[in-house]
């Protein structure tokens, strides 16, 4: 199959089907409604379930229930909708169930606006729901990468028995780019007999599986949290993904940027290179686990004077960048939150002001 021109939202829907996910529960919200529109047509064609719930709160609990039964399941939403699902995300994390969430982020707080934004960095990477849990968070910078991340998200969610979140934005959702889909269709979650409440007869087992999140005994709850932490630590060891750009030069400034914003930064780096001014970028593809070590290494390069975290928000990822650099170099932030994506020219001025 060759390349086809496809809108990000539609490509995300198709990618989930290709990953073998035949259960989609959602509630429409701009700028991701085309996922639901696409899947309302496509799911019946492949024998899957398209279900428009009465609210995002209901969606979250439907996902919890379906995943508990061992069904591969996902949803898509945008910021305020994800807030409504956050209670369920906390329960799903505690119950250790695999669910894939896609957040096509819009500007906030509150109802905010519908233009491109990365304002949900904290919500995605630091919780959003209550309790001591982590999501594995990936951020695509192109439609092709969104497809690949969605297709990777399901096996990762099942490997860790943990929710995975894809953090996009309005541009990723609305833009069309050429995409190629792998043909491979996955089927059932491979390890589900270990945890799914799918019936002891079905799995020919004498041991019941239990989906629970209540641990009133201090020792039991401690033990549960230690098990969860061990998973998050394993993610930090095994799942860090990032893309270095122009890092083999003697760059004076290191940019850290993800998603849509990182594309603008790539243009900036090319334009500055043409002027004879070298800059470089680490683009986190996973936001949790965060590429702490690669950023630290790149920041400490002899030629590097400053690190600039460039984001579509008022300064969130910069805290993780500071944590990674550990004071070795000055770390700055630049960003916009209203929905206007900064132009390459704007960022060039900012970088020059920080370097000089």
């Amino acid at each position: 199959m060759g390349k086809i021109l496809m809108k990000g939202n539609e490509a995300i829907g198709e990618a989930a089907i290709r990953a073998g996910c035949l259960n989609y529960f959602a509630y429409p919200i701009t700028p991701q409604s085309e996922v639901a529109e696409y899947l309302s047509r496509r799911m019946p064609e492949v024998g899957g379930v398209f279900l428009q719930a009465e609210s995002e709160i209901a969606v979250g609990n439907m996902l919890f229930g379906a995943a508990g039964c061992g069904a591969r399941v996902f949803t898509t939403s945008s910021s305020p909708g994800i807030s409504l699902m956050s209670e369920a995300i906390s329960y799903i994390s505690s119950a250790q169930l695999p669910v894939v969430f896609v957040n096509i982020v819009r500007g906030g707080p509150g109802l905010g606006g519908i233009l491109p934004s990365q304002a949900d960095y904290f919500q995605a990477t630091k919780g959003g729901g209550h309790g001591d849990y982590r999501l594995l968070v990936m951020a695509p910078a192109s439609i092709q990468e969104a497809v690949e991340m969605v297709m990777t998200a399901f096996p990762l969610a099942e490997k860790y028995r943990n929710p995975v979140m894809i953090l996009g934005d309005g541009l990723i959702g609305q833009m069309m780019e050429p995409v190629e889909f792998p043909e491979h269709l996955r089927t059932e979650p491979s390890n589900k007999d270990d945890w799914a409440t799918n019936g002891m007869d079905t799995r020919k087992s004498s041991k019941p599986n239990l989906v629970k999140t209540l641990f009133l005994n201090a020792e039991k709850l401690e033990e549960h949290n230690v098990i969860l932490k061990a998973k998050y630590d394993r993610m930090k060891r095994e799942e860090v993904r990032y893309e270095p750009y122009n890092t083999d030069t003697d760059y004076q400034a290191l940019i850290v940027s993800f998603g849509t914003m990182s594309r603008v930064c790539r243009t900036v780096i090319d334009d500055l290179k043409a002027e004879g001014f070298e800059t470089a970028m680490i683009r986190p593809q996973t936001l949790f686990p965060f590429p702490e070590e690669p950023i630290k290494q790149a920041a400490l390069k002899e030629s590097c004077k400053v690190i600039i975290s460039i984001e579509l928000n008022m300064g969130q990822m910069v805290e993780d960048v500071e944590r990674s650099v550990q004071g070795g170099r000055p770390v700055h932030w630049y960003g916009k939150a209203g929905g206007d994506v900064p132009t390459p020219e704007e960022i060039i001025d900012v970088i020059k002001s920080f370097v000089s």
Partner: protein
């Protein structure tokens, strides 16, 4: 080399569609492409626009303040976007609805009475395809023959619409060739 085209007009004029067809054509020719729509809080009958970026290497920022070319299908969109076009770009003006010029002497301005031509062909709905044909013929941004194939493909599920759209494309090309 990267080239950008802004298509702009009223909602309902098929602006997003002609952007889509151009992006598809460029992709068929092997270019990297991005199609970025306006999806802001627009009103019915308000402006609709989309930007098509065509490049021979991976596209960095798909958000462009100064496009190389403009296809303006109504008056407000010409006023809004004409000042932003890069020097030497092509500016197609739908002269059936727009009675002013681009007010630029450093661009290649092309007046196309797209609505009138479309009406003569039998349907005002193909005015967008007239403008697309004129734009591609003048800018040579993609191969016209590949464009013909892509227009045909676009309407493959509504075959009876193919002849009028092909005719619209050719009429647009004719206008572009009169200088």
């Amino acid at each position: 080399m990267q080239r950008e085209v802004m298509f702009a007009g009223f909602g309902g004029q098929g602006i997003l569609l002609i952007g889509n067809i151009l992006a598809h054509t460029a992709m068929e020719e092997g270019y990297e492409v991005a199609w970025v729509p306006s999806y802001g809080p627009e009103m019915r009958g308000g402006t609709a626009y989309c930007l098509v970026v065509i490049s021979d290497r991976p596209i960095g920022s798909p958000i462009i303040r100064n496009p190389m070319h403009l296809v303006a299908m109504n008056h407000p969109s010409l006023e809004k976007f004409a000042p932003m076009v890069k020097p030497n770009g092509v500016v197609v003006i739908n002269s059936s609805l727009i009675h002013i010029g681009s007010d630029r002497d450093d661009v290649d301005e092309l007046l196309v009475p797209a609505n009138d031509i479309a009406n003569d062909l039998g349907s005002i709905k193909v005015a967008n395809i007239v403008a697309l044909g004129a734009f591609v013929a003048r800018s040579k941004i993609v191969d016209f023959e590949v464009l013909r194939k892509c227009v045909q493909e676009q309407f493959s599920s509504k075959e009876k619409l193919i002849p009028i759209n092909m005719a619209a494309l050719e009429e647009g090309k004719k206008v572009a060739q009169i200088k």
